[in-house]
Symmetry: C2
Subunit: 252 residues, 2 copies
């Protein structure tokens, strides 16, 4: 269902990469007003809590998404490469990995961990976007599933803006709180280089290249829609949907 311009011409790998980077430059959520507010220190603690609580849903889904991709790879070498992503997020034991580091962030923000993990307070739009991502990687071609990870090409910038901005802007955030992001600064480039190389080598027909570009647009939409929903519920107009985390009602 993901729309987008259909390229009729075969692009060179470099031209395809340039087009992917152009999509990121236009659509990556670094341009979203909620991101600007977050990294400029302009949100209050409740708004940062809402962000961390919702973003947990996305973080928690990453290994499911990556396991679905591994489950579709015939080549052991490919699987070995991609399984690193699962290990990065789940760690080797209970107090390790990206999800655990995200929970350290929500802990430090004073959110009750079982409440975060239950996703009971997450915005429905967050859950729908995250589920759309999981279903996308299961239902589309492996090439599209791999391509949908390419937002990582752009994440070092968003992460470094976010970390420096949040450390400066919020007295309730410490460097230790943000250790999730420090790891991602090295993991994301390694992962995205691999995925980009895969896409460059496997998108060899115009329809495949169009599908790859649409996959990246789709993934940008997944990230953007999450910030839309946060902005709507907690910034402007500030209408919290029924059942979602409400700073004015909820002592969680």
């Amino acid at each position: 269902m993901s729309p987008g311009a259909r390229s009729k011409e075969l692009l060179s790998p470099d031209a395809l990469e340039a087009e992917l980077r152009r999509i990121g430059a236009e659509r990556y959520h670094i341009h979203h007003p909620f991101h600007h507010l977050l990294h400029q220190g302009k949100l209050n603690r409740d708004q940062v809590r809402a962000w961390a609580l919702n973003r947990y849903c996305y973080q928690a889904a990453i290994p499911l998404k990556d396991a679905s991709i591994v489950a579709r790879m015939d080549d052991p070498a490919l699987r070995r490469e991609w399984r690193e992503r699962i290990i990065d997020h789940d760690g080797d034991q209970d107090d390790e990995g990206g999800i655990r580091r995200w929970l350290a962030l929500t802990d430090d923000l004073g959110l009750d961990r079982p409440y975060v993990v239950s996703r009971a307070g997450a915005l429905p739009a967050t859950r729908f976007a995250v589920e759309a991502y999981i279903h996308f990687v299961r239902e589309r071609t492996l090439l599209e599933a791999v391509a949908s990870s390419l937002t990582e090409l752009f994440s070092p910038q968003v992460i470094s803006e976010r970390v420096s901005g949040m450390l400066t802007g919020y007295d309730f955030i410490s460097e230790d709180t943000l250790r999730y992001f420090n790891k991602r600064l090295t993991q994301a480039p390694r992962d995205s280089e691999f995925a980009l190389d895969y896409v460059r080598r496997h998108a060899l027909r115009p329809d495949q290249q169009a599908a790859v570009l649409d996959a990246l647009r789709f993934k940008c939409d997944v990230l953007w829609a999450q910030l839309d929903a946060l902005h709507f519920a907690y910034v402007e107009p500030g209408l919290v949907p029924p059942g979602a985390y409400d700073p004015n009602e909820d002592v969680k």
Copy 2:
């Protein structure tokens, strides 16, 4: 992933129905500010176009959702009953059925039909919510899938408010434009009575009843999230996500 209070006690069918109606009274999208604006005639033509364009995605998915439910019913009598929903939406020929009547509405609003059908201008959040609904009926139990249709218990009220409000409030809307809704005023009660009876007879354990209540909450979220996204993009703050229908740019 749908959260909600877990009932530990077995409810009588009447108590279960009362609980379902309570959820609707609290969470049905009739209470959403965008619905109020729509039926009070307070939207401009572009905003009504955005609503009709996005809501098309939902309308178009209904027969897919219902076919997935029929595909899971072992009983021919049940399948005969439920297939009526598919017939209602698809008609017997090209110029009939609920989807066709919805396109008559978008036609009358001056939207280009191929553009509407392509869903290219729909909000990503609309697509994600609609896909969440399709996946829900495929992946959950048949009982939950049937229960998720129970928002139709509340739709006659929303439809009659919408029709009278839109006819009064908008000079670009005629009774003929809204003929989709007139049909639904008879179809929805017939469908929802059947589904309600099914749920009353098949939700016989506390866990099943809790799942049924969660299914209705989920479906209310699906409808609510669509109005959140419309409100955010086209009313307040009015930030159209990249690629979505933009009245200021798009002459469609």
